[in-house]
Symmetry: C2
Subunit: 342 residues, 2 copies
């Protein structure tokens, strides 16, 4: 080992990924896109096969004191399926590998796989492989999802162009606010185990955190609406952070409007109750797994009355920056915080 020691935190997750991927050169003619998008794209005859993978580690990505195992299994599949959807592709298969400490019984594994099975049914994917092994500490889940997309429909992060319209599915901020509710109830429970958690009023946000849904339905809808998105990503790190990925890879700037950002009433009210700024939850909360995409101006009419797609702003030239227009009309620079795992 060399004498120099650089902490991973100094680079950050994206810096580490850049450093890792830099020396690798793709040589297979079938590799269309490697590291750097939501999924890898592999040419398979007349279509593309897309492959995405994610690792979830207990104590880093989930807390089993409030995340039931079945929900965790569901989520592990959903977040990977979401990456496939973010390529405008239809997911078809998943592999699931698990590492288990001896804290986990066979019955616990059954519950985990019950959630995995429900997710496979919900998203129409087959479980086709995996690995099971022991772990010295805690639970580790690694999922790889495979999907297909026709060559002309595949959507990368890099295709957004000046004047395109920025759209997002569903509403945002709920998963983050739900996590705060769960954390608060955990603290209450730990200080007084006789207290029953009061979650009824928070059903929606708690569900957004615990029951992650991947928007494969939006992929089908876009096809039905005859819309080819110019760029797409799923909102995992947070709207701002994920929008920045599109900006960086498409070499564009953006202008989004605070008053257009979709937030549910429950999310808004709960954020206020917890002393969080609702707009910060929307911009930086993450884990909503909605689809964020750009479309050509000429497609605007096709989505303007869509109940589940919101137009939140425009793509502009890179030198014009990444801007948020507040409700009061002030223009501020967007900041991406995202999730910091290191």
């Amino acid at each position: 080992m060399s004498e120099k020691r650089t902490e991973i935190g100094e680079l950050g997750e994206f810096g580490l990924i850049d450093r890792i991927s830099e020396p690798f050169v793709n040589k297979q003619s079938s590799t269309k896109v490697g590291i750097g998008d939501d999924a890898a794209v592999i040419s398979s005859g007349d279509h593309f096969t897309v492959v995405s993978t994610d690792m979830l580690i207990e104590g880093v990505h989930f807390d089993l004191s409030y995340m039931p195992l079945a929900h965790l299994g569901y989520k592990a599949v959903a977040v990977n399926v979401s990456d496939i959807a973010a390529m405008n592709a239809i997911p078809s298969q998943v592999t699931v590998s698990i590492g288990l400490s001896n804290r986990f019984s066979v019955e616990a594994v059954d519950m985990l796989y019950e959630g995995i099975r429900h997710a496979c049914e919900a998203f129409g994917v087959d479980l086709v492989g995996g690995d099971t092994t022991s772990s010295p500490s805690g639970l580790i889940i690694s999922v790889t999802a495979v999907g297909t997309v026709t060559k002309d429909a595949v959507t990368y992060r890099y295709g957004a162009q000046h004047h395109d319209i920025i759209c997002v599915s569903g509403d945002l901020g709920g998963a983050y606010v739900g996590l705060q509710v769960l954390e608060r109830e955990k603290q209450v429970f730990m200080s007084n185990p006789d207290m029953q958690p009061k979650l009824e009023d928070y059903d929606y946000v708690v569900k957004r955190q615990l029951k992650t849904e991947a928007r494969t339905d939006i992929v089908h809808e876009l096809k039905a609406l005859d819309i080819q998105p110019t760029a797409m990503i799923d909102v995992s790190d947070g709207l701002a952070s994920d929008l920045f990925h599109i900006c960086k890879q498409s070499k564009v700037g953006v202008r989004i409007y605070e008053d257009k950002l979709p937030i549910s009433t429950t999310t808004y009210d709960t954020a206020v109750e917890l002393n969080f700024d609702p707009i910060t939850c929307v911009l930086n909360g993450g884990e909503d797994y909605e689809l964020l995409f750009t479309i050509s101006e000429s497609d605007a009419d096709k989505v303007k009355n869509h109940h589940d797609i919101t137009m939140i702003g425009f793509v502009q030239n890179e030198e014009d920056g990444r801007l948020l227009i507040t409700k009061s009309g002030t223009t501020v620079n967007l900041k991406a915080q995202g999730w910091v795992h290191f």
Copy 2:
């Protein structure tokens, strides 16, 4: 959680896999084979895409006190590539996800990925994705490999037939004996850190353990020899255990000959020195990642003089059992021990 608690050890790894996979039903027409072979097989137009995944966990699968990080990276890719080769397929892409505790520096990650890169070059695969995250304890590596094979060449575990000849590439037992050498040197080092490890005489077996090679070359050779194997698996758990997988899935018995089993002189001598029975190392050692396959009797002449493929026995009817003919001519029942992770 239900009141009953069954320990995972009661089921064992294969029992757990059976239990996990039982409720899953494949629904995608593109899923040709799911759980239960070396890799999943997905139809992609005129060919099959094969997908395999493995998880390696520090303290379970590797010990960094004698496994250099670059070797570990190489091995993590090689074992997955080996699964692709075991389908008679050519690997093309891999994804690599890692979980890292703060014990690991950026320089350590560089070394790990240097090994990954060397493996990608050696096996002709592209690194196309992955995930990087922190881990509360130790290093976790999860690799997924993708490969392709024509529909008529794909080789499962289930195609072996009565009278087929059982073949294996390379030699066996070396990886296990190498592990024992490394374990012994570690104990010596721990009791007296001034002692330098004496590994020169054990180069070959240590290399078999630390520098895992996947036999993609054999896939090319079989094609060049115009041999379509009837069944194939890679030797990861041990010759006996992996042969049993072929027996179970092909519904056949086997008869193998002790005097035909390929073992290198170094492996043999080192096993004797360490008071291990060399044949037990060959039968149950595991981690050699050679290819074990069956071929039609009519193909025997094509391999009989091959320097790197050994015919070790015959496939027989299931009711005739799984037999080892010892050097003295005695017939004994084969026993599979394999690796127990739980």
